[in-house]
Subunit: 392 residues, 2 copies
């Protein structure tokens, strides 16, 4: 890990005192250190613990382990190296963004020596990145950076102000007369408008692809797909509540979507036509993308369904007779219809059934099958593959 | 805590499966619940623990307690309520934003049932808000919300792209021809451009004051005061490193500040004159505000020093003969010079000495003395009192 040479500090001695009188002083150890050979070293200080384990999505899953409600991970024993520090160094890991946490005598905790934490629905975990491969796209590189805005639109339909994340490309401010295409990027049922920003690494992926000339400069709009919420947990007037699942997939988000398009096209320099609109999403967001694009059947030239949560809802309301509008969408033409799914995904069969319907109706699509299940690893990959195909 | 009625969900049964196969399932308990009488109930699941304690800035400090490197907090024993859940309910708490964490058999951990976490330099802790008083300003209310942007400017001086947070008021998009005043708001030595957004609650404070007509609609610019960094930890090309203190308070940030002003005034609709520029900051940011405002001695009509880290640097470089430019600044006139400090602040005497110098030189200022030390509680309070005085 590169370190800036610490020189010229007139003040080094008083620095600890200058920080706020905070609760938790840093410990003098480093953890989640990615070594040159792509092994990763974890350290945890727990002098009194009997057993410290590490849970991570890089760990082999050996059994269904109920400790602390952990799922999708194995548990690896760490070794006590001296009186107080527990250590584990992994095998070399493939380039990826990984999540992890520690289990100390059965109690799950985050890593106090690696303060990089994402929230996923109601839980938090640490993350780290192993580079020199695909995950270089997920890192902040020394390239021009787009702007990320958290902006609120007023929904007449839902009678509230609602939060959107909007990424504008690095060149946006420098070209005050240029208009840009828009990708609407939708989250899953456990997520919110921040999910694609955090786990999804959208700003980094689009920054890096754009800098390499691999994708067109574009605006990416990340709305909140739960229409009973103003915003992500902690960002709304509901305050700091324990996250809970609201009503969802009842057709309301789809019917309110024109408000979002209108807001974006009124407030940003946008190429406001079908050829310059894309919509994609993961899981529930893939379901939303399917329905929004066929409901407004001449609006999007690019559609991406990432592990889409299709085939789960009852055929009522806007979901009744979906094939009718889908046929119109097909007749109108779509430049790119893209479907991705992991072989281990619990929605694999639902996606296969959907593709069979597409085949029957004559909708041409690109199908990308990857390994693994219903996980971010796939959705970052899909975005990285989908974005370069847009607006060309 | 208000809960949205969960109705009309066609899909409730498959929701847990729709969330990503994440590491850590939520436990079925609620913690950091603010009760109607302003007591707060904490819960922690640890069936095997011998002792669970809570550390928080609401806890009385009884002794210097080295457990886990905690500072500025007392430790309170929790009680085991049944086989696995430890519970503590506080006394009624004053309206404030509080931080806390748990100590489980001597190991510090965050609360897995309250996923609201801030990073402060190299550490993380949970936070909660007790309302019905000052801290209502810190909550997201049902008022029009400004836009928060993370935008990057190119620094010629430091040869890198650098990240800024910029808040524009709720009405900014609705008044495309109106120009706005700007408050430059600077962080402390342990912070970065995200500090005023997170712990500082700047967006919420300014949103709420503006909605009540108590402050002028304004732009707030929050730059990164460590000039060897592009951005906050995790947001720069340094990657996910263990945060460390760079060179600081060596005059470089002050000398590079015109680049920031130029960027803001070129990219936002700004009233670009002295009467519509304010600069304020906490600790190192107060030090920066003092020096920047006297160095560019006819640029700011409003200056705010919050627990300023003055009197610590050697009198060399731009810090030599500071009084000369300060005298010019005084001669040019300043509409408001505001100084705030806590009685327990380790910089109290430094601030008293500074005020004695101001008295000697004839600089008129408002002095606000509060209780407590070098903590966010004071800086949020100061922002809430300072902002309404600006641009009037």
């Amino acid at each position: 890990m590169k370190k800036i040479l610490i020189v010229g500090a007139l003040l080094a001695c008083v620095v600890p005192a200058c920080a706020q009188q905070n609760l938790w002083k840093s410990q003098d150890i480093e953890s989640a250190v990615v070594n040159l050979d792509h092994t990763v070293t974890f350290r945890f200080q727990a002098p009194n613990a009997q057993k410290v384990q590490i849970a991570g999505d890089f760990a082999e899953i050996k059994e269904d382990n109920p400790v602390g409600g952990l799922v999708g991970t194995g548990l690896i024993d760490m070794k006590k190296e001296n009186d107080s520090i527990w250590v584990y160094t992994s095998a070399p890991l493939k380039s990826e963004l990984y999540s992890y946490m520690f289990v100390v005598d059965g109690t799950v905790t985050v890593d106090p020596n690696h303060p990089y934490i994402f929230r996923d629905f109601g839980t938090v975990s640490n993350y780290f990145i192993v580079g020199d491969g695909l995950a270089d796209l997920f890192r902040v590189q020394q390239v021009p950076h787009g702007t990320l805005q958290s902006i609120w639109y007023t929904s007449e339909r839902f009678k509230m102000n609602r939060r959107l994340n909007v990424y504008t490309p690095a060149e946006y401010e420098k070209n005050p007369n240029k208009k840009y295409p828009v990708l609407y990027l939708l989250h899953g049922a456990g997520g919110d408008e921040d999910e694609w920003v955090n786990y999804g690494r959208t700003c980094q992926i689009i920054d890096n692809l754009t800098a390499k000339g691999l994708c067109e400069p574009m605006i990416v709009v990340m709305p909140n797909g739960h229409v009973s919420f103003e915003a992500a947990p902690g960002e709304s007037s509901l305050g700091l509540y324990k996250p809970f699942h609201p009503a969802m997939m009842n057709g309301e988000f789809e019917q309110g979507f024109p408000e979002i398009i209108n807001f974006v096209e009124s407030n940003y320099r946008v190429q406001a036509d079908k050829a310059h609109r894309a919509i994609a999403g993961l899981s529930m967001g893939g379901f939303h993308s399917f329905h929004i694009s066929r409901l407004y059947e001449n609006t999007f030239d690019y559609v991406g369904l990432f592990s889409a949560a299709v085939g789960l809802t009852r055929q009522e309301g806007i979901y009744k007779n979906a094939e009718e509008t889908l046929k119109k969408q097909i007749a109108n033409g779509v430049k790119l219809y893209w479907v991705g799914c992991g072989t281990e995904d619990f929605l694999y069969k639902n996606n296969a059934d959907m593709r069979a319907m597409f085949d029957r109706l004559g909708l041409k699509y690109i199908y990308r099958e990857s390994g693994d299940g219903h996980v971010w690893k796939n959705w970052r990959l899909y975005l990285a593959e989908f974005a370069p195909l847009l607006f060309k």
